[in-house]
Structures are given as structure tokens and as C-alpha cells.
């Protein structure tokens, strides 16, 4: 058949076109000339991989079977897309800020980078996607067969499937694994997908227009045809309509390939703004002519022909081979783009979450340093692509391609919708935990298997008829299509309701009952509050990692030049030269995120921690750090207090030292003074005694010299007495002679002792008010103090007419006696010294050894009282405080 040959030629030409477009785009992007590759339009078109061959062929078949119901598959994504502000925006932001590589990575990253969870999601995704890939292969072979009915069931169809599978694997490996960093856009792939999106839309629109205006002759006629067709009545069950809309919305968010183009390949968040209206428009256009084609097909095509192929068969029936080939290309595009993206998405998941962890564990981390991780990761990804496509092919061969296309699609949707609670819950609810996500996924997956997937192979194939009728183990509430006695429902609605419902319930309940690990809590906060802080808090403690080891490892993953460039930049930012930055927490953080773009968050985390020594910060660590900080703060406040105390002590010491220095000076002065004082009388005594020894003196002279010698010896004795007295007082060996007397009497005695009968111009004013008070103390000693004070006034008061005020006043149990003169007083700087021994104010203006006040102070101390200098009284003012001893 000539058409088949032309078809093969066109097909090959189209594939060559795709390869060259992808190649050109990759080249342009590498040379930095691909600005248009990053336009929102390309982003929107790449989203169109939602519309697979299932849309292209299956939607018409779906409509031919159940009328308008097919449209729910596109209404769900439309609603999600126009509601982008709610969910997609957050998902894309999280995906970008965390360098998410796949939906498994997203969920694993949210729940504390759990690899177990990533493995579960990956397995679910593979199970849910494999039939879908099979579906695409089936559609391509079916469409080939449509052109050559004769070769329909022969070996050639099977060989077509394997050629297609091989071609797709080659294309995906070639353009999908150029960069290890899955976060970088696969420009070649994306642009090829965009081209295919345009082709499939144009093809479907062309067929639609041909059917409406070519075959039917206008809109009115087409509507009349619809009204006359078997699908004229809108007999859609409300539950199916609603459930399918929600299911497609959920699948739109959870399908690995959708996640790949929507989040991972997203270049700019603002592209969502355009896609928010452009993608619904695309969906609307692509589903616009579905019902007319179905109605016309039902009318024109012979009884029993496959409605899934109306899109192809109607043009063929009308002899429009060109249109039929365009239509074929549309279907081919839908199928191939889906397989390519799904293979990339799944291979990323399989290699990052299954192959790499196993390999890392098997080599014990040693290979990370010696082996070429980059090579291994790329190889793993390429093998995974081959494996994923091969699995799809295997499924296609096993299933024999009998099932209606739409049924497989919906079952796959329902399977992947099980990811929704964990995904959405993780984005909006900080309380969601890893255990909860695992529980929800497990419950949902099990129910999906039991209620939908296994029965879908037909009764008796996997699930025995007895179980279908009477439930597992004969329990009637475990019937696969009537769980918990809920009969009479559409099997799909039933399965979706129970699987997603119980999935959500398990997820929420277990999350509430379990306790998240520290990393989960950190990541949870990062995801839920992604708009508040798009960067992650530090999760590495630095200083342990070896920069060189990290560089070696990074080179293996990112390539030598890029890794060195990155390390050098990091080093420069830290103000260092060379290639090795300090392994600061920020740098490790940054490095881990860069690596996670290549190998996934969990693996990157594992790799870095293997080098850095698993030094992740747990909440316990944080608490310990906080404790330590608190301790340090406390310690430092103690230190502060201590240093304040030390400052005070130092000041006191300085004062004391100053005093000591002054005293030392005073003492030196005094010693010379004492020597002088002692020497002067000694000199006179010696001189006069020599004169006496010389003889020849008259009695008068003798008497005179003897008197001088006597007076001088008295002076010496007095000086020595004073010194002795002081030392006795100071050593505390003094014995008090306690007597009773009135103050009046003591003062009288003191004044008499100090000035005798000759007042010498000193006027003493007394205050008789309290002088009658009785004192019980050592009266002689007290009098000695008073004598000293009064004598001092006589000696030192420099007023023209010296006046001494003696004033007494009781103060509680003490008696205060003030001696105030009218002289110039004592300079402030000397106040501290006057009570010290040997201190004499100024230079020796007046005789005396400077022991008087020191003796006074010692006496008052012994008497239990005090003597102080009171400044600011108009002259020298001494206050004597005497305790009134009881009894």
C-alpha cells in the first residue's frame, strides 16, 4: 500500500526534524543564544504533554462511548491552572528553591530527605506510568495498522512498536541526559515537545475543521448530527463527572511527567502567569472538536470499528490521505512526547533514588572519591530510560493491547493521585510527617491495587471471581468494587473515593500521632513557608568537611571545570584565593543543593554527609548549641560582674597604693624628722653634758645647763612615750580602765590638760546642753583624745582669733562630740592622711611627731567609738563618737 510507505517516509522525516530541532536548540542554548527558548509560550506548550495519545485518539473514543464525560479530563487541569495562585505557584517556588529533580525528590525532600519515601514514590510512579507508556506504543502501532488493515495483526505491528521504543529511547538518552543536573532545562527536549504540541493541536483542529465543514457542511449540521447520534443525551452521572474532574486535577499535579515540565523544567516563575490562561486555552482548543468527530464517526464509520481511531479513519474514509498523515503525525507526536518526558522523569527518579543509593552503599562511599560518580550517575540514568521504555513495551506485549485506551489512562491517573495528600499536605501543613506520608501512600496504593488495578485485568485473571463477589477471605465488606458495603457505584469512582479518602485519613491521622525528625521539621518549615524564606537554614556544621575531598567528589558529579569554577567562586566570596573554600555551613549548604540538582536531595545529602561526617544539625544539636550559648552568656555575664568587681578592687588597690606611696614619702619625711627630733635634744644633751664635764662653771650656770638637759630628756621621753603608746594601742595590748564620769568633767580635764591656765588667745565655746550626760568608758584615754584635739587647734589653727566650738549631741546609743575651729581646715587631699601615723600636715610648722591623731584614732577604736574628720564645717572639724556603755 502506497500510503503506508509514504507514511513511513513522512514519519522518518518528522523524526529527523525533531532530532535536528532538538539538536539546534541545545546548541543555541549552549551558546547562550536561546532566549526565545525560555519564553512563557514554550513553557505553556511543553505543559501540553498532558495531552498524550490518550487525548489525541482516546478522547474521541471516550466521547463516542459516553458523550461529554471526556471533557472532565481537561476541566480538572483547567481549574488547577487558573487557580495557579493557590498551588502551582507554591510548588514551583519550592521546586526552584530546593532544586527539586522529580516528584519523588519533592516528597522525599519535604519529609526529611527520606530515601524510603522516595523509593516508594518512585515505585508507585513506575507502576502508574508503565501502562501509560504501553498505551502510547499501542496507539502508535494501532495508527500504523489503520493505514494497512492487512498488516494489522501481523508481526510488522509488533516490530513497529519496538522500533518506536528504540527510537524514543535513543532520543531521550541523547537529549535528556546531556546534563547530569536535572535542574537544568533540557532545551532540546523542551523545544521538541513544544513543536510536537503545535503539531498535535494543529492536527486535531485540522481534522475537526475537516469533519465539521468538510464532511458535515457547517456548524448547524454538525449540531444536528450530534443531536441525532447515540450520544445526544447528556446522561452523565454527577458522581463520575465530579470524580473525574477532581481526579484529572489531582493527576495534573502528580503525574511525574507533568511535574517534570511544570516544576523541574520551569525557568521562571512568571511563566506561570502566562500558562495560567494559555494552557486552559490550549486544552479548550484541543477538546473543541472531540464530540463532533465522535458523533460523525459514529454515524459514518461501520459498526464495530474502533472509536479510538476515528481521528485517523475519518480522513482516510474520505480519501484525504494528506490530512490522515497529518493526523497520524499528531498522534505520533502526542505519543512520543509523553514517552520522552515520562522516561526522563522516571529515569531521574529511578537513578537518583534507587540505583545511586544502592551503588553508594555497595561501594561504601569509597568510590565517591576514586570512581567517576558523574559517569555512574549518567549511566544509571540512561539505563533507567531504557528500562522504563522497555517496561512499557513489555506491558504492551503482555496486555496484548486489548483494553480500551481511556480505561488504562484513568487507572494510571487514580494510581498517581495517591501522591496528592502527601504532596499537597506537605506544602500546606507543617504537621505532616514522613510516617504519615508513608502510611497514607501505603493505604492508598494498596486500595488502588485491590480495587482498581488488579480487577481491571478482568475477573478471574488476577483477582478470583469469588473475591469479586464475596470479598477477600469471604468478608463481604472487602469486595473490591463494594468496599465497606458501598455498592452500586461506578467502580472507578468507588476506587478513587476509598483509596484517596482513606489515604488522606491515614496521612492526617498518622501525621498527628507521630513525631517528625528534626530534618523533617526544618524541611517542613522550608516548604510551607517558602514565600517567607526561600533559602534554607544551615543544616551543616562546618569545619569538619575536607574541602579537597568535596572538590574531588563535586568534580566527579558536575564535571571538573564547572566544579572548580564553583569552588573558586565560593573561595573568592570567602575572601580566599585558590580553589578551596572553607567548608563553612553556607558553602556546604550551597554545595549540597547544587549536587541535589544532579543526584537528588537525599543522595546529595548522603554524599556530603559521608565526607563531612554526618554532621547534620539535629534539633538536639540546636538545643545543645542554644544551651551552650546560654551558658556562655551566663558565663560572660559572670565574667562581666567579676571584671566589674576586679575594676573596683583595682581602683581600691590603686587608692591604697597611692596612700602607701604617700605614706612612704611621709614616713621617709618622718624618719628624718624623728632623727632630727631625737638628734636635736641628744645634741643639746651631749653638748651641755660636755660643758658640765669640762667644769669651771658657777652654780647658776650649772643649774641652767642641767635644766636644759633635763628638759631635753623629757622631750625625748615624751616622744618615746608616744611611740610606745601607739605601738601598745595598735597591738591591742592596751587594758582599758573603765570609769564613769560626765562629759562635762572629761572636757574640763582635757581643756585644763591641753592649755593649762594660759589659754594663749584660744577661745573655747562649749555647749552645756548635753554635757551632763554620763559616760562609762576609759575616761583617761578619752580625755587624752580631747587633749590632743584641743592641742592641735592651738598648734594649727591659723585664724587671727582662734575659736574652738565643742558641741555634743546624743545619737541613739552613742554620743557625738564635734570639735570645730575657725581656721582654714585641712585640704581635701590630706584628709585621708591625717589619721595615719607619722603624718604631719605641711612641713613641720609646729613641733610634734605626727602621732597625735593616729593615737587618737587607735584609742577611739579601742573604746568602741570613732574619730573622723568632717569636711565643710568652716574649719577643721573632728567628730568623736563615743558609745554610751551600759551599766
Amino acid at each position: 500500500m502506497a500510503t503506508l510507505n509514504i507514511l513511513v517516509a513522512v514519519c522518518v522525516a518528522y523524526v529527523v526534524l525533531l532530532f535536528s530541532v532538538a539538536f539546534a536548540a541545545d546548541r543555541a542554548a549552549r551558546r547562550g543564544r536561546g532566549a526565545w527558548l525560555r519564553s512563557p509560550l514554550v513553557y505553556t506548550l511543553s505543559l501540553s504533554i498532558y495531552c498524550t495519545a490518550w487525548t489525541f485518539y482516546g478522547a474521541v473514543g471516550f466521547a463516542a462511548r459516553s458523550g461529554m464525560e471526556y471533557v472532565t479530563i481537561y476541566l480538572g487541569p483547567t481549574l488547577v491552572m487558573i487557580g495557579w495562585w493557590w498551588t502551582l505557584r507554591k510548588m514551583v517556588r519550592v521546586g526552584r528553591s530546593q532544586r527539586i529533580t522529580s516528584i519523588a525528590d519533592m516528597i522525599s525532600s519535604r519529609y526529611g530527605k527520606s530515601n524510603l519515601l522516595a523509593v516508594c514514590v518512585t515505585i508507585l510512579a513506575v507502576i502508574g506510568t508503565t501502562p501509560y507508556i504501553a498505551l502510547q506504543l499501542q496507539s502508535v502501532t494501532l495508527s500504523f495498522a489503520a493505514f494497512s488493515p492487512a498488516a494489522g495483526a501481523g508481526r510488522s505491528v509488533q516490530s513497529i512498536a519496538i522500533y518506536v521504543a528504540l527510537g524514543l529511547t535513543l532520543f531521550t538518552i541523547l537529549f535528556g541526559t546531556r546534563n547530569l543536573d536535572a535542574n537544568e532545562r533540557h532545551h532540546g527536549v523542551v523545544i521538541a515537545i513544544a513543536l510536537e504540541a503545535v503539531v498535535k493541536l494543529l492536527a486535531l483542529l485540522a481534522v475537526g475543521i475537516f469533519v465539521v465543514w468538510g464532511l458535515e457542511g457547517g456548524l448547524g449540521a454538525t449540531l444536528a448530527r450530534i443531536d441525532a447520534s447515540p450520544i445526544a443525551a447528556f446522561e452523565v452521572s454527577g458522581s463520575r463527572w465530579t470524580a473525574l474532574t477532581l481526579l484529572s486535577a489531582a493527576a495534573f499535579l502528580c503525574l511525574p511527567r507533568m511535574f517534570q515540565v511544570m516544576v523541574v523544567e520551569n525557568e521562571d516563575e512568571s511563566h506561570l502567569r502566562t500558562a495560567a490562561w494559555a494552557f486552559p486555552l490550549y486544552l479548550m482548543l484541543i477538546s473543541l472538536f472531540v464530540v463532533p468527530i465522535a458523533a460523525v464517526g459514529l454515524d459514518l464509520m461501520p459498526e464495530g470499528s474502533n472509536p479510538d481511531l476515528y481521528v485517523l479513519n475519518l480522513p482516510l474514509l474520505a480519501g484525504q490521505d494528506g490530512l490522515a498523515i497529518l493526523s497520524f503525525l499528531g498522534g505520533f507526536s502526542s505519543a512520543t512526547s509523553m514517552v520522552i518526558v515520562a522516561a526522563i522523569a522516571l529515569s531521574t527518579m529511578v537513578s537518583n533514588h534507587i540505583v545511586m543509593p544502592i551503588w553508594l552503599r555497595a561501594t561504601g562511599g569509597a568510590a565517591m572519591m576514586s570512581g567517576d560518580v558523574r559517569h555512574v550517575a549518567l549511566l544509571a540514568r540512561r539505563l533507567s530510560i531504557g528500562a522504563v521504555v522497555f517496561l512499557g513495551y513489555l506491558y504492551f506485549r503482555m496486555s496484548g493491547g486489548g483494553t480500551a485506551l481511556a480505561a488504562i489512562g484513568l487507572i494510571a491517573f487514580a494510581g498517581l493521585a495517591q501522591l496528592l495528600p502527601a504532596l499537597m499536605g506537605g506544602l500546606v501543613w507543617r504537621g505532616a510527617t514522613r510516617t504519615g506520608a508513608l502510611a497514607g501512600l501505603g493505604v492508598g496504593f494498596a486500595l488502588w491495587l485491590y480495587c482498581l488495578l488488579l480487577p481491571s485485568f478482568g475477573p478471574g485473571v488476577i483477582v478470583p471471581q469469588s473475591v469479586m463477589d464475596h470479598g477477600l477471605f469471604g468478608l463481604s465488606w472487602l469486595r473490591p468494587q463494594a468496599m465497606f458495603w458501598t455498592g452500586g457505584m461506578d467502580p472507578l469512582v468507588h476506587a478513587v473515593m476509598w483509596s484517596v479518602g482513606l489515604n488522606t485519613a491515614a496521612f492526617c491521622t498518622v501525621s498527628m500521632l507521630s513525631f517528625p525528625r528534626p530534618v523533617e521539621r526544618l524541611q517542613g518549615a522550608q516548604f510551607v513557608n517558602v514565600f517567607e524564606h526561600s533559602q534554607r537554614p544551615g543544616s551543616w556544621t562546618g569545619g569538619l568537611g575536607q574541602s579537597e575531598d568535596l572538590l574531588i567528589m563535586s568534580q566527579r558529579i558536575m564535571g571538573a571545570a564547572e566544579a572548580q569554577e564553583m569552588f573558586a567562586r565560593a573561595a573568592r566570596r570567602q575572601g580566599l584565593s585558590g580553589y578551596l573554600p572553607e567548608p563553612s555551613p553556607e558553602f556546604l549548604e550551597f554545595l549540597e543543593r547544587r549536587l541535589s540538582g544532579s543526584v537528588g536531595a537525599a543522595t546529595a545529602h548522603a554524599m556530603v554527609s559521608q565526607i563531612v561526617g554526618r554532621a547534620t544539625v539535629s534539633v538536639e544539636d540546636l538545643l545543645a548549641v542554644a544551651d551552650e550559648t546560654a551558658q556562655i552568656m551566663e558565663y560572660s555575664s559572670q565574667l562581666e560582674a567579676k571584671s566589674a568587681e576586679q575594676a573596683r578592687t583595682a581602683r581600691q588597690l590603686r587608692e591604697v597604693n597611692e596612700k602607701l606611696t604617700q605614706l612612704s614619702v611621709q614616713k621617709d619625711g618622718f624618719l628624718s624628722q624623728v632623727s632630727h627630733e631625737l638628734r636635736t635634744p641628744m645634741t643639746s644633751i651631749r653638748a651641755f653634758s660636755e660643758i658640765l664635764l669640762g667644769g669651771g662653771l658657777n652654780a647658776q650656770e650649772l643649774r641652767k645647763y642641767a635644766t636644759i638637759i633635763h628638759a631635753e630628756s623629757l622631750r625625748l621621753t615624751r616622744l618615746l612615750d608616744d611611740l610606745l603608746d601607739l605601738s601598745v594601742l595598735e597591738s591591742g595590748q592596751v587594758v582599758l580602765n573603765v570609769q564613769t564620769a560626765t562629759l562635762d568633767e572629761v572636757l574640763d580635764r582635757a581643756i585644763a590638760g591641753a592649755i593649762g591656765a594660759a589659754p594663749g588667745g584660744l577661745e573655747i565655746r562649749r555647749d552645756p546642753g548635753f554635757e551632763a550626760m554620763m559616760l562609762r568608758t576609759d575616761i583617761d584615754r578619752l580625755a587624752q583624745v580631747f587633749i590632743n584635739l584641743i592641742a592641735n587647734v592651738r598648734k594649727y589653727c591659723d585664724a587671727g582669733a582662734p575659736v574652738l566650738d565643742i558641741h555634743a549631741e546624743p545619737d541613739g546609743t552613742r554620743l557625738i562630740i564635734d570639735f570645730v575651729d575657725n581656721g582654714t581646715g585641712i585640704p581635701i587631699e590630706d584628709e585621708a592622711l591625717i589619721f595615719e601615723k607619722f603624718s604631719r600636715l605641711g612641713d613641720a610648722r609646729a613641733p610634734g611627731a605626727g602621732l597625735g591623731l593616729a593615737i587618737c584614732r587607735e584609742i577611739m577604736h579601742r573604746l568602741g567609738g570613732a574619730i573622723t574628720y568632717v569636711p565643710g564645717q568652716g574649719g577643721a572639724a573632728f567628730r568623736v563618737t563615743v558609745p554610751q556603755m551600759p551599766g
Binding site: 490562561w277 486552559p280 500546606v428
Partner: protein, 109 residues
């Protein structure tokens, strides 16, 4: 957020900001409106008391679809023209419970 919680936010904002906030509300309400409108045909009754006609439902669904696309264009244009990052941050804080409610029906499905 370093900003104090809701109490610290100004009661009155500039006209542009106010308009933008209402547009965010509109963007959030649009899918609800769409869902309701798409559900409506389920309640329809045909002329003879039987089911509604597929052709009518088809025209209605595509009309609603077009309307949603046009509204989405208008809203995203207005949202895009005014860049107010602070608003976006605030929205994130408010948005969390909203989107939880929004994804609720999906779970229930």
C-alpha cells in the same frame, strides 16, 4: 517574617496595592467559579423532562471555558503589571489555609 503579624499591617493601602490585592482574591476565586459553572449542567433538565442535550452542554461548557480563559488573562495581566513583593509575601501567610481548603475536595474525590 520579620514583619509583625496581621495586627501590624496597615488598614489603608494605596489604590494600586488595593486593586492588586483584590485581583489576588479574584485569582483565588476563579477556580471555584469555574468548578461551580462546570457542575451546573449536571442539574439541567431536558425539554421533555429527560436528560439535557449533549450539543447544548457542549456549547455551554466551551462558552464557560472561554470565559474563564478571558478572566484569567485579565486577572494575570493586572497582577503582572503591579509588582508588589510584600503583598506576595503576605499572601503566602494567608494563602496557606486557603490552599489547604482548596485542595480539600481533591482529597475527598
Amino acid at each position: 517574617m520579620s514583619e509583625p503579624p496581621a495586627t501590624g499591617r496597615p488598614v489603608f493601602v494605596a489604590r494600586g496595592t488595593y486593586r492588586r490585592r483584590r485581583m489576588v482574591d479574584a485569582a483565588a476565586m476563579l477556580p471555584i467559579l469555574g468548578a461551580l459553572l462546570f457542575m451546573l449542567p449536571l442539574l439541567w433538565v431536558g425539554a421533555g423532562g429527560g436528560a439535557a442535550r449533549t450539543s447544548i452542554v457542549m456549547i455551554y461548557v466551551f462558552a464557560v471555558w472561554t470565559l474563564l480563559v478571558v478572566l484569567s488573562v485579565v486577572i494575570t495581566r493586572i497582577l503582572g503589571s503591579a509588582t508588589d513583593t510584600r503583598r506576595e509575601e503576605d499572601e503566602a501567610a494567608e494563602g496557606a489555609p486557603d490552599s489547604a481548603a482548596g485542595s480539600g475536595p481533591d482529597h475527598a474525590g
